[in-house]
């Protein structure tokens, strides 16, 4: 009887402890997510304050000889990158020779809520001077006068030509005013085409495609029945039909001469038709309508597909699996040429009291030693041509494919509708088009209306 009581007691205590522990696991966020309504309300309330603050003369800019402190906020993807950033800051602080001290404050990426948190902090009067950035956040901050126009600083920059003009154009586009640049380029990820040289050889292809038309042809050639059982064993292309697939899809639209600005043009519709034809004719896996990042990478790594589109983020693993039997080429030019660009930039806030010193820091990250250290340490594609020309990047075939695509890389138009368009409208519409429920023209009309409404 006593033994049973003890057993029951132990079971009860263990169950209570487990329940308590589950309730207390600190990684579960109990914080509420900012609602759009709340954000808008907060923005409205503070807009007047910010406008008033903008009219007040700024604290006098200190001379270059005086010591100034710049508060820099950033996110890091892992602890190694975090340590690397601290090293870059230390190096800059000890070598800049202008009395500038950068104080780095790391904040969590927070599933993309980094910018939203930063916005709340800035509206509350945060003293952050410089931050790492994503282009998609630009309109919100520009509309609330939170960002400093960097155009005069960039124009006066001795290393201005070290960054491709196309990159500057993308930065300007994000701010919604082609005459102003609020965002300083830092590093990018350019999508390129992965391919398997051994499959190319089997398909009788001797060199990588140079044109969009050749690319389409090679996809067909690489679709193989290797064991002669009448079934396809290797598909020419790993198509991404789920969320995120709009990036490689954009290359097809532009390959036929289309554009995001007019998705209903004949050229844009032709690009969509190419995409549909690849699916309906069996040149891509039948699961393409629901294939996302993990699936296209797994299909390529398992040898099910001969080509797929992604960036250097996956190149390490590819090389580990295939060794020399994997390579890359930039998305070829057709009537037009475009590839998607992932981006990370820096911005200086309008509240910064020492914009000259702050610009020294962002310049160091964009074209100086900071650029080299960061890109070599993280495997990101440099925006500096000088850094990109170094052996480290030129000897890496994936980096080279990325750098070759830099001049025509771009982003989707940043609009209020873009997030929903990417998350829901594009995958749903394209899935219907691929399965033949709607025509290419109908699909493009839906996508046009959804993006530009």
């Amino acid at each position: 009887m006593r033994k049973r009581l003890v057993t029951r007691k132990i079971m009860a205590v263990a169950t209570a402890a487990a329940m308590a522990a589950s309730a207390l696991t600190a990684c579960g966020s109990s914080g509420t997510q900012a609602t759009e309504a709340a954000k808008t309300e907060a923005a409205k309330t503070e807009a007047a304050t910010q406008a008033a603050a903008a009219e007040t003369p700024k604290a006098e800019e200190k001379t270059s000889d005086e010591a100034v402190t710049i508060k820099f906020q950033y996110w890091a993807d892992n602890t190694d990158y975090s340590a690397l950033m601290q090293d870059i800051i230390k190096k800059f602080n000890s070598e800049n020779g202008k009395g500038i001290t950068v104080v780095g404050e790391e904040q969590p990426w927070d599933g993309g809520a980094y910018a939203e948190n930063l916005f709340n902090a800035k509206m509350g009067g945060s003293d952050v001077d410089v931050s790492t950035w994503k282009l998609t956040s630009t309109p919100l901050f520009v509309n609330n006068d939170l960002l400093l126009d960097l155009t005069p600083y960039v124009d006066a920059m001795d290393t201005k030509s070290d960054i491709d003009d196309n990159i500057y154009s993308v930065m300007k586009e994000a701010g919604g005013d082609s005459s102003k640049m609020y965002v300083m380029p830092w590093n990018i990820q350019v999508l390129y085409v992965y391919y398997r040289p051994s499959i190319f050889e089997k398909a009788g292809i001797t060199e990588v495609p140079k044109t969009y038309e050749e690319f389409l042809e090679d996809i067909k050639k690489c679709t193989l029945d290797t064991d002669g059982d009448g079934k396809t064993d290797v598909y020419g292309f790993g198509m991404r039909g789920a969320k995120g697939g709009q990036e490689p899809w954009g290359s097809f639209v532009h390959g036929e001469g289309g554009s995001f600005e007019d998705l209903t043009s004949d050229a844009s519709v032709a690009g969509m038709q190419d995409f549909i034809d690849l699916y309906t004719n069996g040149y891509v896996p039948p699961t393409a309508t629901s294939d996302g990042f993990n699936e296209i990478i797994a299909n390529f790594q398992s040898g099910l597909t001969a080509m797929t589109i992604h960036h250097t983020g996956s190149s390490g693993k590819m090389e580990e699996i295939f060794g020399d039997d994997v390579s890359a080429f930039p998305f070829p030019a057709g009537k037009g040429q475009w590839t998607s660009m992932g981006d990370t930039e820096t911005v200086i806030f309008s509240s910064c009291e020492h914009p000259d010193a702050a610009f020294e820091w962002v310049k160091y990250l964009a074209t100086g030693e900071g650029q080299k250290m960061w890109c070599e340490g993280t495997g990101n594609v440099p925006v500096s041509k000088t850094v990109g020309a170094g052996d480290y990047f030129q000897n890496n075939r994936f980096m080279k494919a990325s750098l070759d695509g830099e001049s025509y890389a771009g982003i989707l138009p940043i609009r209020d509708t873009t997030t929903e368009w990417i998350s829901d409208l594009w995958p749903n519409t394209v899935a219907q088009a691929l399965t033949g429920d709607i025509t290419a023209a109908d699909a493009m009309q839906i996508l046009q209306d959804g993006l530009w409404k």
């Binding site: 207390l24 600190a26 709340a38 602890t79 975090s82 509206m123």
Partner: protein, 277 residues
């Protein structure tokens, strides 16, 4: 006494065992993930035990930029201070609301609760601004203040319920025996309220321990709390599962120990309501 059939007992224990397994498996999996070697952790084959346990992640938590020791210390300071401040204020406020009938009592109680009806994010910017102007930003005090704005009203309401269940006659008897109001509260009401105070304290501690939004906004690298430190291990392009799970395990150990000792009082507090004596 009639003994329970053995089959029924076995069934009960089986159900309890399955419940326990269901509750404990995530913690086992978290622990296992934290000690798996890198190749096994990110490999394609799922393993339910590792032949080569590796505790490197635990060491890295304290030596890398995460600085987990500092985060744990900050979390304890914030959670303990919030609990003490809230319990002190809420117990006295709840006693006053329960025992004194004064004009505007109901209105005040309703206003108290209104605070909790606003989404946290609405108060985020004003509170940030206030903390900055008070020069409290990036200090644990800012978090204690922010948390108490939410925990005090709720705790007052919770404790009012407990105090209302205590018969007035106990205090009246104490006062007949020579106690003043304060002594009656300290010597009679407070000991009887102890289980309820512990239950409320645990709730406050949990809220402060787990809270992320304010912690992320009001702290910097030096004053960062555990939820923010753990969240920083989830990057844009990947998650450091080994460090994240090691951090999760270290986070729950001290709290589990605390709960182990407090659980008896906690259950009493949660089931309080019976009139003593």
């Amino acid at each position: 006494m009639k003994r329970e059939p053995k089959a029924l007992t076995a069934l009960k224990f089986t159900v309890l065992f399955l419940m326990l397994l269901f509750l404990l498996f995530p913690f086992y999996w978290t622990f296992l993930t934290s000690i798996k070697p890198y190749d096994e952790l990110y490999g394609k084959v799922v393993t339910y035990w590792t032949a080569n346990p590796n505790f490197e992640a635990y060491g890295k938590l304290f030596t890398s930029t995460v600085d987990f020791f500092s985060a744990m210390k900050n979390s304890f300071i914030v959670a303990l201070c919030t609990t003490v401040v809230t319990l002190t204020v809420a117990t006295m406020a709840a006693y006053a609301f329960s025992r004194y009938i004064f004009p505007g009592r109901r209105v005040l109680m309703s206003i108290f609760l209104c605070n909790n009806m606003f989404p946290t994010v609405l108060l985020l910017i004003p509170l940030y601004s206030i903390m900055r102007n008070l020069h409290l930003l990036y200090t644990p005090t800012s978090l204690v203040l922010a948390y108490t704005t939410f925990t005090i009203p709720f705790s007052v309401w919770l404790l009012i319920g407990f105090i209302n269940d205590l018969p007035m006659s106990l205090e009246e008897a104490a006062m007949v025996d020579g106690c003043n109001r304060g002594q009656a509260f300290m010597k009679i009401v407070f000991p009887l309220l102890r289980p309820s105070i512990i239950a409320t304290g645990v709730y406050i501690f949990m809220q402060s321990w787990n809270e992320y939004t304010f912690a992320m906004m009001f702290t910097n690298t030096a004053t960062r709390t555990i939820p923010v430190a753990l969240k920083s291990l989830i990057g844009q392009l990947g998650v450091q599962w080994d460090l994240l799970t090691a951090g999760g395990i270290l986070t729950i150990i001290p709290v589990c120990i605390m709960f182990f000792f407090a659980q008896k009082r906690l259950v009493e507090g949660l089931t309080a309501g019976a009139v003593k004596g």
